[in-house]
């Protein structure tokens, strides 16, 4: 079943064919005063402790902090939560790790 050596082999792409799109990042805001910053807790132990401290510091900078939590770190965030965050926030910080 091998092709004669003079012909190239054509195969089908097994991947999801999602190009690694180089998307331009949104412009970084010069300051956080007055900006709405979302803090997403992925439900790993003590992520809330880290985010609590971050919320304090951000508040002191004058940012408007909104807190979110996804049900479990083992699954992607539910679609409606992602929508909510995208609509309500200008900047998002996600706490990972333990």
């Amino acid at each position: 079943m091998a092709n004669p050596p003079s012909l190239p082999t054509v195969v089908l792409d097994p991947s999801g064919e999602r190009e690694a799109v180089a998307r331009a990042r949104a412009a970084r805001p010069p300051a956080l005063r007055g900006r709405t910053v979302g803090l997403l807790d992925i439900s790993k132990a003590r992520g809330d402790v880290f985010l609590d401290r971050l919320a304090e510091l951000l508040g002191a900078e004058g940012a408007v902090v909104r807190r979110y939590r996804k049900p479990t770190f083992t699954k992607p965030a539910p679609v409606d939560l992602r929508q909510e965050i995208a609509v309500q926030c200008e900047v998002v910080i996600e706490a990972l790790a333990d």
């Binding site: 079943m1 050596p5 003079s6 012909l7 190239p8 082999t9 054509v10 195969v11 089908l12 792409d13 097994p14 991947s15 999801g16 064919e17 999602r18 049900p71 479990t72 770190f73 083992t74 699954k75 992607p76």
Partner: protein, 482 residues
């Protein structure tokens, strides 16, 4: 080009039987009993009549010709009857005439149609059906070794993969009646919509045969369900990977192994079905280990390249696993389990079920960690020599699970963190009240019968966390052939 009603003959000059009947065909054509004579390799054969030139083989392909000579009766453009080779009786019946071919033997078999020639069959397949394939075509360099090229593009799991040419993928798709464009699942971690075609591409790469495809499709669907949580299984630092347990008639139909070395190497269906699922997650979903990859397993286990076996139902004292999980008897199904490895154990001396079940409970107790309860789910693979002990005592599946559950009620105090000089264990908050904790959640222990006839060993397959933060075993019936 061909009549919609009447008789058509398809021949090849390079065929002794066609040469034998050529004079007869000329007579039949001239008399109007045959509406058209099609020749696959010579427009001048048979001599003396107008011959339809099918050197492209497109007509023969459309008519599904496998033998020459073939006589076809068409009615309204559709095939009403077919005779392959020369047989006076069949030809007379199809033509509605008698007394033909005096001097010819009563019958002679034909030759293979040119459409089946290895060099031409693939080209025809691709030309006629290639249009249904929507995957991007990737042209490998003329001087590239196709197998190295697959490695270079990151499509391999470390072992060679079969280059998924259009012909191979089209042949793979003949294993299902499902539309190649149908979306089978959304595959993590990229959450990419995966079509039947994409599964077929990866199934070719894994080394599957077309008849395995329905099992692979069902496995992809089950693995990508929310309950199984393939994303979590992939991303965890724990060793887990998908395990596929197959039940029902499909296992025998496609030649799976449920007996000797069932969890090991040597059987193509076992080896390639699991691998196809792994490649789908790797290539379609983008889920892979290595730098930047989502698969963060600290150690993993050898079955992560692909793990699939069939339950030995024929020799089993119990109903199939799938039936115990709600699938109708006689229906083929897959059960997906997040398996972390195989832990074999010995019991060569127990002759009573009470003794053997205590061995099994002792081994199960240590699954994941002896001081964790409830712990991960488990699959217990019981071999025939062990199953015999239960069969002889009349223990059905329910009885076995009840006895194990009872023996696996563990003294809570002994599980506490720090007890026995071991920091690991259950938090004091859960054990302070004393009493017992179950090793497994209800439904967290699955029993399967498999293995060779000699060997008083069984195997425990620990799982992963269950419930809403983990993975649930998922059983799914298999559609399609078998």
């Amino acid at each position: 080009m061909l009549p919609t009603d009447g008789v058509v003959a398809v021949v090849k000059r390079d065929c002794p039987t066609c040469e034998l009947v050529a004079p007869l065909l000329v007579d039949l054509r001239r008399a109007g009993h045959v509406g058209a004579v099609v020749c696959q390799d010579d427009r001048g054969f048979p001599a003396g009549i107008d011959v339809v030139d099918d050197s492209d083989l497109d007509l023969s392909w459309d008519l599904g010709i496998e033998t020459v000579p073939t006589l076809l009766r068409l009615a309204g453009g559709r095939e009403a009857a077919r005779a392959e080779g020369w047989s006076r009786a069949q030809w007379e019946q199809l033509l509605g005439v008698t007394g033909i071919g005096r001097g010819l033997p009563d019958h002679r078999p034909g030759c293979g149609s040119a459409t089946l020639d290895p060099g031409r069959a693939d080209a025809l397949l691709v030309r006629h059906r290639g249009g249904i394939l929507t995957s991007r075509r990737v042209e490998l360099g003329e001087l590239e070794d196709p197998f190295e090229a697959m490695f270079d593009r990151g499509w391999s799991d470390g072992l060679p993969v079969v280059p998924p040419t259009e012909a191979r993928v089209l042949r793979m798709l003949s294993g299902t009646t499902r539309d190649p464009a149908e979306v089978v699942a959304v595959v993590p971690p990229g959450l990419v919509a995966c079509t039947v075609e994409k599964v077929a591409v990866n199934a070719v790469m894994a080394g599957c045969r077309p008849e395995y495809l329905p099992v692979v499709l069902a496995s992809v669907e089950a693995a990508c369900s929310d309950a199984f949580n393939a994303h979590g299984v992939l991303a965890t630092t724990w060793s887990a990977g998908p395990l596929i347990i197959v039940n029902g008639p499909v296992a025998r139909a496609i030649g799976m192994n449920s007996t000797g070395n069932a969890l090991g190497q040597g059987n193509r269906a076992n080896a390639t079905i699991g691998r196809a699922l792994q490649l789908v997650i790797r290539n379609v979903g983008g889920g892979r280990p290595g730098p930047g990859g989502i698969d963060r397993a600290a150690l993993g286990h050898p079955g992560k390249v692909g793990w699939c076996f069939a339950e030995d139902e024929e020799g089993s004292p119990w109903e199939p696993l799938s039936v115990s999980r709600g699938v109708a008897p006689g229906r083929s199904a897959v059960t997906l389990f997040a398996g972390s490895g195989a832990t074999p154990f010995i019991d060569q001396l127990s002759r009573t079920p009470d003794s053997l079940v205590r061995t099994m409970a002792a081994v199960l107790r240590a699954s994941a960690h002896p001081k964790l309860a409830p712990a991960f789910d488990c699959v217990l693979v019981v071999s025939p020599e062990h199953a015999r002990v239960y069969r002889d005592a009349g223990w059905d599946r329910t009885r076995l699970l009840a006895e194990l559950t009872d023996l696996l009620q563990l003294d809570a105090a002994g599980l506490t963190r720090g007890v026995g000089g071991i920091a690991e264990g259950m938090p004091a908050a859960l054990t302070a009240a004393g009493g017992q904790l179950p090793k497994f959640r209800p439904g967290g222990l699955l029993v399967v019968h498999a293995g060779g006839r000699a060997g008083m060993f069984s195997t425990v397959i620990p799982g992963w966390a269950s419930g809403r933060t983990g993975s649930e075993p998922v059983t799914r019936p298999i559609d399609g052939p078998a």
